[in-house]
């Protein structure tokens, strides 16, 4: 019965998301699995926005009050033929070259490893209680408060809400966790924490599908997915009850779809990118403080590279921000009030002490130790450094569009810990790795694109007679991407 109710809790927002995705994706551009992954994450996010809205209006989370969300979407839906849902156009296939047989063996091994890792994470999840500090004091606790109060009853004034971690934390994750419990009619840690797992699976699907658009082989997309699932830090965040992997998903997916829009001129990807970052803003404060600026700068960069006239460029930028503001508006107004209100002081030590801009010379030593002597992220920093350097030189023109946002993400993610009073979170290594976890999927995606280009380059070099033909194929593709 529990599994059935949980399935309903996931299926309803997924259907809602599917309606949005299908409505936006008029060209039927996305693959079915990709659409499904997107549908869940978009549906979960939009439902959270809706529940927040009715919550601050003082309405309870009853079936009667929630029903309009689904009814409205059902009216909005334009059911298409089943065939359209199952068959989709694929992106431009990147590599015209076939890889040697040994890569097939490695590819199958990678697939087995990915499946094993996901199974392991699932086993650990179903056997794990909510254990880690922030999940206990905020993420799951706040969700439990919402669930037992059947709404945002008195938030943030109520005693229970105030005893949560930091009052200005966005409510997207607690609200969706409360939704799962509401549909199930009871609070069960296991099912509530499955939310992160489903987002994690969506992340893998989105990463795989997007890289697959840029290559004709399975090797590089699977390698990229393997690099993500094999990060030692990942499992604990998939079942730990924290929100870093969730905000990381929304940020990564938003950037990827912005890239798809640029590469393939797909309008659906543009709108979805805006929707995804809006949901990301409602997941963690980094969404508005760090990731929206990164996305906006990336969008501006892509617009600069485009051949649109200035009017159209401004129109795109405004349209993007309008979608974001439309969805996040109620939360942002609410958040501004509670953040700047003297009534609600945050508990976070860094926010009440120290000056805004600081620099501590010892930061370099701590960062080096964290990057190279801890097992948190395997050998990712050396790997990314080398792949980016080699890849940038060998990259097919038009593919380097992912490099500037990757670099920007890395710099922005580290900036607060190096140049502000948030240094204390680097010093005690409490937040820094979680901040890096949020951007790492995108960094790995960029590395995946580069690896594909390096392999393509090496292959074309090893087959000298095919070089001329290869050059012409790439040029055509490059032109298409740049255009």
């Amino acid at each position: 019965m529990r599994i059935f109710l949980f399935s309903i809790a996931i299926l309803l927002p997924t259907l809602a998301g599917l309606i949005i995705v299908n409505r936006v994706d008029r060209e039927n551009f996305f693959r079915p699995t990709e659409s499904l992954a997107l549908s869940f994450s978009v549906g979960a996010g939009l439902l959270s926005f809706y529940l927040f809205l009715i919550g601050i209006l003082g309405l309870s989370f009853s079936g009667f009050n929630i029903a309009p969300f689904f009814v409205l979407l059902a009216v909005f839906a334009k059911p298409r033929r089943l065939k359209n849902l199952l068959i989709s156009k694929r992106g431009i296939s990147g590599s015209p070259l076939k890889y040697p047989q040994w890569q097939w063996a490695v590819t199958i091994t990678l697939l087995i490893l990915i499946i094993w890792k996901i199974i392991f994470i699932f086993i650990a999840l179903i056997a794990s209680p909510t254990y880690f500090a922030d999940a206990i004091t905020h993420w799951n606790y706040m969700a439990k408060v919402i669930f037992f109060n059947n709404g945002l009853n008195g938030y943030p004034n109520s005693k229970d809400s105030l005893s949560s971690g930091v009052i200005s934390y966005p409510l997207g994750v607690p609200i969706f966790k409360a939704w799962i419990a509401l549909v199930m009619g009871q609070w069960v840690d296991l099912y509530v924490n499955l939310y992160s797992f489903l987002i994690f699976v969506s992340l893998i699907i989105i990463i795989y599908s997007t890289i697959k658009r840029y290559t004709s082989t399975y090797f590089v997309p699977l390698l990229s997915c393997y690099l993500i699932v094999s990060l030692p830090f990942i499992p604990f965040h998939v079942y730990g009850g924290y929100s870093d992997i969730i905000v990381g998903y929304y940020f990564t997916a938003s950037l990827l779809f912005l890239g798809i829009w640029f590469s393939f001129e797909n309008r659906a990807a543009f709108s979805l990118s805006a929707i995804l970052i809006a949901i990301g803003i409602f997941v963690k404060r980094e969404g508005i403080a760090l990731y929206l600026p990164i996305i906006t700068l990336t969008l501006s960069f892509y617009l600069m590279k485009n051949k649109f006239n200035w009017g159209k460029k401004v129109k795109y930028l405004l349209e993007y921000l309008a979608i974001v503001l439309f969805l996040t508006g109620p939360w942002l107004i609410f958040w501004t009030i509670i953040t700047f209100s003297s009534t609600f002081k945050t508990i976070s030590p860094a926010e009440n002490k120290g000056s805004l801009i600081e620099f501590h010379p010892e930061v370099i030593g701590i960062l080096l130790k964290n990057f190279f002597a801890f097992g948190t992220f395997n050998i990712i920093w050396v790997t990314l450094f080398i792949v980016y350097i080699v890849g940038f030189k060998k990259s097919i023109n038009g593919r380097t569009i992912f490099f500037p946002p990757a670099l920007l993400s890395f710099v922005v993610a580290l900036f607060p810990y190096i140049f502000s009073h948030y240094f204390i979170y680097l010093q005690d290594i409490t937040v820094i790795n979680r901040a890096l976890l949020q951007i790492i999927p995108f960094l790995i995606f960029t590395a995946g694109i580069f690896i594909n280009d390096i392999l393509t380059f090496l292959k074309s070099e090893s087959r000298k007679p095919a070089k001329k033909q290869m050059g012409s194929v790439l040029k055509t593709r490059e032109d298409k991407i740049v255009e």
């Binding site: 650990a124 209680p129 090496l458 070099e461």
Partner: protein, 360 residues
């Protein structure tokens, strides 16, 4: 040529067996530690074994004068019948610094197990060590200790075997795992640091060679080799990490009441279940909660919500005491450090330092 290979093999084996150091101090056994103190119940068996039990009992050895550089291998030979418990190791050096290692999971099967731990895994194992402590966490049944000694490897073969054993030692989940993950150690060095260094050195070597080469084919081969180095280094760490994941999955129990037992929280889950049943039965919606461990307050608040707790306050009639020996009940009164807190009755007793009291 074949004979040469045999000779080479023979020489390598001889080298490995060759004493690494001279036989300096003979390793001390448990019997010879003069300042061994046990916190918890203890009993010395006739066969020389030390049997201890209690609430996270520990063994502390004072008045040592160990040269950290010289003796860095801690050997603990112990037996426990617990499914999953841990050994925490810490020390104080005369330089006023102190160190500790991540908890070490203890094995429950196969009688006595010998744990050989390279203390150089902590950068705080330095100078002269004054005392060393071993805490058994989550071990509720008897623990038998046969031997504790500090020594150094006697041959290169021993260096290899200790390095190998320490490399595969499981790293359990504990509160800081959500923020960072320790690397396994090999020969006293962080494995990930070794891998990173190796990758950087090899990449520089291959890179320089390919840059200097004028042949395009060599340059391209250099790129392939660099990618292969990265891939195999990544896989190497992942194999070790997968083993750890397997160990964690193996200890996970899929059970509604007793979920996976994390470091230091096993008894707490039992207590919460006990408390929840009682509170529901007595229809209690709020209580004063006292415990010596702050994390338990947050866990309790989360686990029992919507039942509300008043941490370290006396605002309601119900007092819940968990693992707080300063509280006791006597003659219808609740005392804290000898002072009367309230008059009333005991509702339930969980253990010596945990009970539920109702004020009149």
């Amino acid at each position: 040529m074949k004979n040469m290979k045999v000779v080479m093999l023979f020489i390598i084996i001889l080298l490995l067996l060759f004493p690494k150091y001279s036989w300096a101090t003979a390793p001390s056994s448990l019997e010879s530690w003069p300042f061994l103190i046990v916190e918890g119940e203890q009993q010395k068996q006739q066969d020389g074994l030390l049997r201890i039990r209690g609430d996270n009992p520990s063994i502390i050895i004072y008045n040592l004068a160990i040269e950290a550089e010289k003796d860095y291998i801690l050997t603990v030979r112990t037996r426990t019948e617990e499914d999953l418990c841990f050994m925490g190791i810490w020390w104080f050096s005369y330089s006023q610094s102190n160190g500790l290692l991540p908890p070490i999971p203890l094995l429950s099967k196969g009688g006595f197990n010998t744990y050989i731990i390279d203390l150089r895994e902590s950068s705080e194992w330095k100078l002269q060590i004054g005392s060393i402590g071993i805490k058994f966490v989550g071990c509720e049944k008897d623990i038998f200790v046969e031997e504790i000694k500090l020594s150094h490897p006697q041959s290169y073969l021993e260096v290899l075997s200790i390095g190998w054993a320490n490399f595969w030692r499981a790293i359990p989940i504990y509160p800081t795992t959500i923020n960072y993950i320790h690397s396994p150690f090999v020969f006293g060095f962080s494995f990930i640091l070794l891998l990173n260094s190796l990758v950087i050195i090899l990449t520089i070597m291959v890179g320089l060679y390919t840059i200097m080469s004028k042949k395009i084919r060599t340059k391209n081969r250099g790129i392939s080799i660099i990618l292969a180095i990265l891939f195999f280094a990544w896989i190497s760490y992942d194999i070790r990490n997968s083993y750890n994941e397997y160990r964690i999955a193996k200890t996970a129990r899929i059970d509604h009441l007793r979920l996976v037992e994390y470091y230091e929280i096993k008894d707490f889950y039992r207590f919460i279940q006990f408390l929840k049943d009682l509170l529901l039965k007595e229809k209690i919606t709020e209580f004063n909660f006292y415990t010596d461990s702050i994390p338990y307050i947050e866990y309790t608040k989360y686990s029992l919500y919507p039942i509300r707790i008043r941490a370290n306050k006396s605002e309601t009639a119900i007092y819940v005491i968990y693992k707080s020996p300063s509280f006791y009940f006597k003659d219808g009164k609740l005392y804290q450090k000898g002072e009367v807190v309230a008059q009333g009755d005991l509702i339930a007793v969980y253990d010596n330092s945990s009970f539920i009291f109702k004020a009149r």
